[in-house]
């Protein structure tokens, strides 16, 4: 088992290095950071000096080696545009992204399961068909469009909810939270729905399909024959057995919610890591881009590792094959 984990960890390091190298090679094509940093009529000599001080004249491999070396010591350099350490900036933005991701996941799970169960139990009702249609919209409309539509309806037309930002936040240690203020909660509503909508439809469809499957199985039929109440059959037996794959999918999706909140954060000017990344791309802020990509890679690698470990715990057959291989 230990060997398995060690091998996995080693592979993870390899993945991170590969991501870093590919990212670094791509930044070459993102453009020239210097022109984004200075005024158009900055003297040429000054530009040259800036290039040199940023080490942009060195070959890509040298730049990468320097970066990787610093990164291993926990130093991610300074952002070109904000002149602050990247780690500080990411730490400052992380609470916003995590709180948004959490709310979006909770929304997706709650609404998704409720809607899925309803449409499985009342398969032919008008309501179920309506939900199916809505879920189709959720899958097919791009995130930014949903965000803009929500803003247009709830901010501009009705004036109920704010169109941008996080509202007022409260600082607890290094963490800033929007959970403790009214404006913070209000600001969370639209972005959470936008970000969670796709996952919600996914979960709803999954729950519906699984539930229909389970309802056809023998033990449900036996339960009915035994005269159990419908409620206990549906929620005590059927739903419980539906949830195993749902939880797996939701866990995996959490990673992508965190990583791909970029678009939602841009639309709502949500001051999280995704927005920071988009701003960095526009300004060719290489240190931020590199650190963010590494962080996202790390999140995925960690989630996959945990999932792999969980599988071996859940499924004894896997454990056996691991032992044999080791």
């Amino acid at each position: 088992m230990l060997a398995f984990i060690l091998r996995r960890l080693l592979q993870s390091v390899g993945v991170l290095l590969a991501v870093g190298l590919i990212a670094f090679a791509m930044f070459r094509f993102a453009g020239d950071p210097v022109n984004q940093l200075v005024a158009p009529d900055t003297p040429y000599a000054e530009r040259l000096q800036i290039r040199q001080s940023l080490g942009l004249d060195d070959p890509v491999l040298v730049q990468f080696a320097r970066y990787a070396g610093n990164a291993m010591r926990g130093q991610f350099g300074n952002s070109y545009q904000f002149r602050q350490p990247v780690s500080t900036l990411l730490a400052e933005r992380m609470p916003a992204t995590l709180e948004l991701a959490l709310c979006a996941t909770v929304f997706a799970l709650t609404a998704g399961i409720l809607m899925g169960v309803y449409s499985a139990l009342h398969r032919d009702s008008v309501g179920a068909k309506l939900l199916q249609a809505i879920s189709l919209v959720g899958v097919s409309l791009p995130t930014f469009l949903i965000g803009i539509l929500l803003i247009f309806l709830f901010s501009v037309t009705l004036g109920w909810l704010p169109s941008y930002g996080r509202g007022d936040t409260v600082r607890i240690g290094w963490w800033t939270t929007g959970f403790l203020t009214v404006s913070g909660w209000k600001a969370l509503v639209l972005p959470s729905i936008t970000l969670g909508l796709f996952q919600m439809t996914l979960i709803m469809r999954l729950v519906r399909a699984e539930m229909l499957e389970v309802l056809r199985t023998d033990y449900i039929r036996f339960a009915r024959a035994r005269g159990l109440t419908t409620r206990s059959i549906h929620f005590g037996h059927a739903l419980k057995n539906t949830l195993v794959p749902v939880i797996t999918v939701a866990g995996l999706q959490l990673g992508s919610i965190i990583a791909f909140s970029i678009i939602t954060e841009t639309v709502f000017q949500w001051p999280g890591m995704g927005l920071l990344f988009v701003q960095a791309v526009q300004n060719v802020d290489v240190p931020i881009m590199a650190a963010y990509l590494l962080l996202v890679a790390l999140i995925f690698v960690t989630i996959n590792l945990v999932v792999d470990l969980l599988y071996t715990i859940v499924d004894p057959r896997l454990r056996l094959s691991v032992r044999r291989a080791a």
Binding site: V38, D41, E46, R83, S155
Partner: protein, 536 residues
């Protein structure tokens, strides 16, 4: 579905709603708060780090300069109450007394001398704002002399962007050197301010929000009635407009052209348009022996003045203004905006004449036109790519096949600017930071012949006429304004006769402003907080 199981959830929801309702009735603060949003960030609070319009304007609320510019961009006294020139190379500034920095320390001549050094130190992006050959001499605590080596008619033109910092504060916080744009260590001055202006910054979260508060110890009278101003970046166009329409912000910049009528017809906001100083123009490679990316081999068509005239005449600028810019632009005859050159009304833009353009091309030996790539940014100027598309189709009508290369500014500038100069035909926008023609004649229209000189750094196509260079050198020194203007006029006439450039237009600034707010749209696109008033 079971109603029983979900009862706790419902109760929870009800409680949460009630909580929101109770908290929502908290009394609104009485402070008069102005909220404003820009598409970009306020990247540094160090006033010498980044020479960019919005940043300079935001710093202008907290920092002040010796000489400043009023609502019509005329030079007026700032921290210098008055000044005189006892001899052409000496300026004497009389400083205001009773001026205090936000940390309470008094403003004196030492601060001016310190700031003059700091602004010209390596790493400053504002080195050219103060003449390089100037030495500053303290006469007494409230008098400073600026001594120049040569007479300089525009010595004070850029003083408006040179903000005065406190020497003692900089010493205390290890901020003696300017924060370079490529800073490797975070600097105190980049995250804190200490100016003399009517506002202080109480909170600054880079890229997220910045809070300005009224400074009670300000020496002068302030037009604004604001207690507080909160700046946020909103980069997404649609979100920015939505925030304005829903009344969450009072000012946004810019309002995209396609949203302007919607904003104007809304109940709580209007679009304020005013001509800007930036001139959008096309440039042509007049120096390479063979045009890059063209089907004409072995020679460069743009070296022929008839081809350049044909290009100029083939472009229907009025149509671009009307269709692409939806009326929000002014056709330009010169490379400089009219407010910056008093004699610009003596120039007329040569007329659109496609028939003549065709004839000229035939005369030059290209009866069937030729192929040329056009470099264009797509996220830099108002509708930049659309303008280039219009130019492409207009040139197609006279037989020239233009291959449009539109890319984001990060890539575009790396391709066309020095040292690459990798372009045959390009679109660019330019505002002379000195607010004076010499900058244009030197930077954009000066020959690149001398490689060691900064002359012609942004003359990407190397338009070159020694007559213009000679005039530019005289213009740099001439202190008699009238004679100087005549020389500038002569230089522009020369460029025009050479068909050296194709000026297109000055785009209009487009601010979205709440109806509760009164402010001043200055032609340099700087929104000054101290001119903002808001009804409560």
């Amino acid at each position: 579905m079971s109603p029983v199981k979900f009862r706790p959830l419902l109760a929870c929801l009800a409680a949460a709603t009630a909580l929101v309702a109770i908290a929502g009735t908290a009394p609104a603060s009485a402070a008069n708060t102005f909220r404003f949003a820009f598409q970009g960030d306020l990247k540094s609070l160090d006033p010498y780090t980044l020479k960019e319009t919005f940043t300079i304007a935001a710093h202008g609320a907290v920092y002040e300069s010796l000489v400043t510019r009023d609502k019509d961009l005329k030079l007026v006294p700032g921290l210098a109450e008055s000044w005189e020139t006892p001899e052409p190379t000496r300026y004497r500034f009389h400083l205001r007394k009773n001026v205090k920095f936000h940390d309470g320390s008094p403003f004196t001549a030492d601060d001016v001398i310190f700031s003059a050094e700091r602004v010209r130190a390596p790493g400053s992006n504002f080195q050219t704002n103060v003449p390089a050959d100037a030495t500053f001499v303290k006469v007494d605590d409230h008098t400073v002399d600026m001594v120049l080596k040569n007479p300089n008619p525009i010595a004070l033109y850029q003083f408006g962007g040179w903000y005065i910092m406190s020497k003692t504060w900089a010493e205390k916080h290890d901020a003696l050197k300017p924060t370079p744009v490529a800073a490797t260590t975070p600097s105190y001055a980049a995250l804190h301010e200490n100016g003399t202006g009517p506002f202080t910054i109480t909170e600054h979260q880079p890229g997220v929000r910045t809070v300005f508060k009224k400074f009670d110890g300000y020496w002068g009278k302030v037009e604004s009635n604001l207690d507080e101003a909160i700046f946020t970046t909103i980069s997404n166009d649609a979100t920015r407009v939505a925030a304005l329409l829903s009344g969450e912000v009072d000012w946004v910049d810019p309002v995209p052209l396609q949203d302007q009528s919607r904003v104007s017809s809304s109940a709580n906001a209007v679009v304020v348009n005013a001509p800007e100083l930036r001139t959008i123009y096309l440039g042509m490679d007049q120096t390479s022996d063979e045009l890059r990316g063209s089907n004409v081999k072995g020679k460069n068509p743009f070296k022929d003045v008839r081809v350049r005239e044909a290009f100029f005449r083939a472009i229907d600028e009025d149509a671009i203004v009307k269709r692409v810019m939806r009326g929000q632009a002014t056709p330009a005859a010169l490379l400089i905006a009219p407010p910056l050159f008093p004699l610009s009304n003596e120039f007329k833009r040569p007329a659109y004449d496609p028939a003549k353009a065709k004839a000229l091309l035939a005369e030059a030996g290209y009866p069937n036109g030729f192929e040329v790539p056009l470099d264009c940014p797509n996220d830099r100027y108002v509708n930049d790519e659309a303008i280039c598309q219009a130019v492409t189709s207009m040139l197609a009508r006279v037989g020239v096949k233009v291959n449009l290369i539109a890319q984001p500014k990060a890539k575009y500038f790396a391709k066309i600017l020095k040292p690459a100069f990798d372009t045959s035909f390009y679109m660019l926008g330019w505002t002379p930071s000195s607010m004076d023609s010499h900058n244009i004649l030197f930077e954009i229209a000066g020959c690149r012949t001398d490689k060691s000189s900064p002359r012609g750094t942004t003359n990407l196509g190397n338009y070159c006429n020694p007559k213009v260079d000679a005039l530019a050198d005289k213009i740099e020194r001439e202190t008699d304004q009238e004679a100087r203007n005549l020389m500038i006029k002569q230089a522009y006439e020369t460029i025009m006769n050479d068909w050296g450039y194709i000026p297109l237009h000055q785009q209009a600034l487009a601010w979205g402003v709440s109806k509760k707010v009164k402010l001043v749209p200055r032609a340099d696109n700087q929104m000054m907080l101290f001119w903002v008033s808001k009804e409560q």
